[in-house]
């Protein structure tokens, strides 16, 4: 084996070793172990019901502003190898941005809601577009939550906030709709 080949192999090995150590060096973050600076949630927040994972995103990744009527994309993935039916309620609420001095955000007002039944074949994924036809208020924090309608528990325990963003009056400093 030539010297040049050995150098090439050694370089590749060293690089791979470095990547291996780096990849597995950081301890895992889970809710039970504290870390000085936890990473943001790795996965988008999804509602899981009857083996179906349900997520929500702004339609086309849009940035919504005051006065607009937002549209959302509901994506449901059946993780089982059997057919599945889920009934989900999607609720959009608004809170005032003006409470910076207050201890808690005021109770959000429900602006729009829709019940959606999704039927999926084994391992099937469907995406549905939901049109709110509701004008967004200015200077508000908008939250969109998902709730499994088949849950017997009171609604708050089953609702997942899937999306939140803020609106401005003239488009200044808009916030990208981010899945939580």
């Amino acid at each position: 084996m030539k010297k040049k080949d050995i150098l090439t192999i050694a370089t590749a090995a060293l690089g791979t070793a470095t990547l291996t150590v780096t990849a597995f060096w950081a301890g895992p973050l889970d809710a039970g172990h504290d870390a000085e600076a936890p990473a943001p949630l790795a996965a988008k927040t999804r509602l899981v019901a009857h083996g179906v994972e349900i997520g929500l995103a702004a339609s086309g990744g849009r940035i919504f502003q005051a006065g607009e009527q937002p549209e959302f994309e509901l994506t449901a993935t059946n993780t089982t190898n059997q057919t599945a039916n889920v009934s989900v309620c999607v609720t959009m609420t608004a809170s005032s941005l003006a409470d910076a001095l207050s201890r808690t955000v005021r109770l959000p007002a429900v602006m729009w809601w829709q019940e959606q039944i999704v039927s999926l074949g084994p391992n099937e994924t469907k995406t549905l577009t939901l049109a709110t036809r509701t004008n967004l208020p200015a200077k508000s924090v908008i939250s969109v939550s998902l709730h499994d309608l088949d849950q017997k528990a009171p609604t708050p325990l089953a609702a997942i906030v899937a999306l939140s963003f803020a609106t401005t009056t003239n488009g200044a400093s808009p916030f990208v709709a981010s899945a939580r």
């Binding site: 192999i9 050694a10 590749a12 090995a13 060293l14 690089g15 791979t16 070793a17 470095t18 990547l19 291996t20 150590v21 597995f24 060096w25 301890g27 973050l29 889970d30 809710a31 039970g32 172990h33 504290d34 870390a35 000085e36 600076a37 936890p38 949630l41 927040t45 999804r46 509602l47 899981v48 941005l97 910076a100 001095l101 207050s102 201890r103 808690t104 955000v105 005021r106 109770l107 924090v141 708050p156 325990l157 609702a159 997942i160 939140s164 803020a166 916030f175 981010s178 939580r180």
Partner: protein, 373 residues
């Protein structure tokens, strides 16, 4: 590449992946046992109108041996505090955060006592702050635990939880910590998969019996309940307030349910709200507590309260003191609440909290306790 993978694995095996070491901590600090020694308050000049009157009353009522750490955005903020609040007998030392923040100290962290005598108090901070992506002050609040630890490295360490919560979501005594339902709502299918998983984490971290309230008013625990020692829980009761404000309003020939103390939408005496307060009493009784009821006046917005359990308790030998919120214009309610505390053997030190209640918080919400003897 195979050599590299093998080499990397070998390095990891020899050195051990450096687990993020969790420094030991003791149980959550009790709200009602021990003498107050170190407190943490925030001062944000923008909130001066809310906090200054309260701080003036409270800090002048504190004993001289209490140390107060005042977290301010900057030196100018601390100087504004000194000019506004004036001379106080206790020791005040500034912690200059260097970033925006809110005035609400209580919700930023939970104090875990030292694991061993002479050790450090752990400030257990939530994973994130509600609204931090929108409000710079909320984003600044997220950093407060580390700011305090950096300023007091010998006696304080900071630790960030993987859970979402506010400090005010917990109410602890020497045996039990009560947790409001909102903590489960914020974490289920976000950071934990099941209720049991959440309870396990809280038990492990707080080192007390954990009771997760199934039903409660949607607010921080200190707005509707207070543990007063001796396995006794004080729980707010709107029906007691109703009788009192009827008398209050009668001379003005006005119906008691209209416009009392500027409560948004008026007082909330609905059966649904009464049930939530009664449910808390029931759950505490089921946990073995003696229940004493005290007037509370919630508003229709379910955020604004005239409450008399949002207190600071100080135990000094055989003496038990309570720093009790009072409100100008609600003198009958103030007197009735004072009578309840005095019947429990407490010496009452009133603190005028008129400037704060419309902002959904009160004395206990503004003051966090770092250490008790």
């Amino acid at each position: 590449m195979i050599l590299g993978l093998a080499g990397g694995a070998g390095i990891l095996a020899l050195t051990g992946s450096p687990q993020r070491t969790v420094t030991p901590s003791g149980p959550i600090l009790s709200e009602c046992d021990g003498h107050l020694r170190e407190l943490v308050l925030h001062y944000e000049p923008a909130a001066k109108a809310i906090v200054a009157p309260i701080y003036r009353d409270f800090l002048r009522a504190l004993d001289r041996d209490v140390s107060v750490h005042l977290v301010c955005p900057d030196r100018a903020g601390f100087e504004d505090f000194v000019a506004t609040v004036g001379q106080v007998p206790c020791r005040i030392s500034p912690i200059l955060a260097g970033h925006p923040m809110t005035a609400w100290s209580r919700d930023r962290w939970v104090a875990l006592t030292p694991a061993a005598p002479g050790g450090a108090t752990t400030l257990w901070s939530p994973r994130g702050e509600a609204g931090q992506e929108v409000w710079p002050a909320r984003a600044g609040d997220e950093r407060i635990g580390r700011d305090i630890a950096a300023a007091l490295p010998k006696s304080v360490q900071a630790r960030r939880s993987g859970l979402y919560f506010d400090g005010g979501d917990f109410l602890a005594d020497e045996e039990t910590v009560f947790v409001v339902p909102r903590v489960l709502q914020r974490n289920l299918q976000q950071t934990v998969c099941t209720r049991e998983e959440l309870l396990g984490i809280l038990s492990r971290e707080l080192k007390r019996r954990v009771i997760l309230l199934d039903e409660a008013p949607d607010h921080h625990a200190g707005m509707f309940m207070a543990s007063v020692g001796g396995k006794t829980m004080l729980v707010g009761d709107p029906s007691l307030a109703r009788e009192l404000i009827s008398v209050e309003m009668a001379p003005h020939d006005r119906a008691p349910t209209i416009d009392f103390m500027g409560l948004p939408g008026g007082p909330d005496f609905s059966a649904q709200t009464q049930h939530l307060f009664d449910a808390v009493a029931g759950q505490c009784a089921a946990a073995g507590y003696r229940i004493v009821r005290i007037p509370v006046l919630p508003a229709q917005d379910r955020r604004t309260y005239l409450t008399y359990v949002n207190v600071l308790i100080d135990e000094q030998g055989n003496r038990r003191l309570v720093f009790l919120p009072v409100y100008r214009g609600a003198e009958r309610l103030n007197a009735a609440a004072r009578a309840v505390w005095e019947s429990l053997g407490y010496e009452v030190r009133p603190v005028d909290c008129t400037s704060a209640y419309r902002h959904f918080g009160c004395l206990h919400c503004l003051v966090n306790v770092l250490r008790r003897d």
